[in-house]
């Protein structure tokens, strides 16, 4: 049983991070939790003896996905802002 404790902790971290990523509704805050989910998944993959997969997850999850989400949010907010201005006029 003691052998399984690290994997168990990894699983719990992934499950909690995944649940958090869904329950946080604001996309900017969600991008933080998504990057945490990526890190937790990478840790779990390393514990499951899959360093290749962990590398893949780190490369994607630590900078790439948050960057794309934040850029989309910025573009969409810009749109929404100009829309609000129109209504005022």
């Amino acid at each position: 049983m003691a052998e399984n404790v690290p994997v168990l902790i990894g699983l719990v971290l992934v499950a909690v991070a995944g649940t958090g990523a869904v329950l946080v509704r604001d996309p900017v805050r969600q991008s933080f939790v998504l990057s945490l989910l990526g890190l937790a998944l990478a840790a779990l993959f390393l514990l499951l003896q899959a360093p290749d997969v962990a590398l893949s997850q780190l490369a994607v999850g630590s900078a790439l996905t948050p960057l794309m989400v934040l850029l989309s949010v910025r573009k969409v907010r810009r749109k929404a802002r100009s829309e609000r201005r129109e209504e005022h006029e």
């Binding site: 690290p6 990894g10 939790v33 890190l39 590398l55 780190l58 490369a59 630590s62 802002r81």
Partner: protein, 163 residues
């Protein structure tokens, strides 16, 4: 399960998990330094696990995280500069995070250096340690700079003002 794996697991549970909690909750000004701390501690966990599993090949994951982690933090600082400026982090908590970074890196890397002995693996370890320290130092400075210069940035065309 040997001592290194146990230490790695303990750091994962007692170091990474609380840092991750701080990243997931609270204002952006707390999330950004906490995100940096999470990636630093996680690279250290990877190093410990690599030693525990007896696989030097696993060290590559820590190497990649030691450069991409700070890149992610700087990205948040850059794209959320106005939010950082709106509610600046308390200098004391920022200082504590940085200090924790500085303490944790040598506390893990130095014993690992003794365990690996001289060779290519030692150089790799020292490079990772150096990158981690440099990365966390830059991250905390970037947060401070964004807070002080933030009000000017928020007004520019690139600032993401969202009310």
């Amino acid at each position: 399960m040997n001592g290194w794996t146990a230490a790695g697991t303990a750091l994962l549970l007692c170091g990474v998990a609380p840092a991750a909690c701080a990243t997931a909750t609270g204002p952006v000004s707390r999330r950004v330094p906490a995100q940096n701390l999470t990636t630093t501690l996680l690279s250290l966990v990877f190093l410990l696990l690599a030693q525990g599993f007896g696989r030097t090949a696993y060290v590559d994951t820590a190497l990649v995280l030691s450069v991409l982690g700070p890149a992610g933090t700087l990205l948040y600082v850059r794209l959320l500069a106005d939010r950082l400026a709106a509610r600046p982090p308390r200098p004391r908590s920022l200082l504590a995070t940085t200090a924790l970074n500085y303490v944790a890196v040598p506390a893990v890397v130095v014993p690992l250096c003794f365990a690996t002995g001289p060779g290519r693996a030692l150089v790799k370890l020292l490079v990772i340690g150096g990158l981690l320290v440099l990365g966390s130092r830059t991250a905390s400075r970037a947060v401070t700079a964004a807070v002080t210069a933030g009000h000017g940035l928020a007004g520019s065309a690139e600032g993401m003002s969202d009310g």
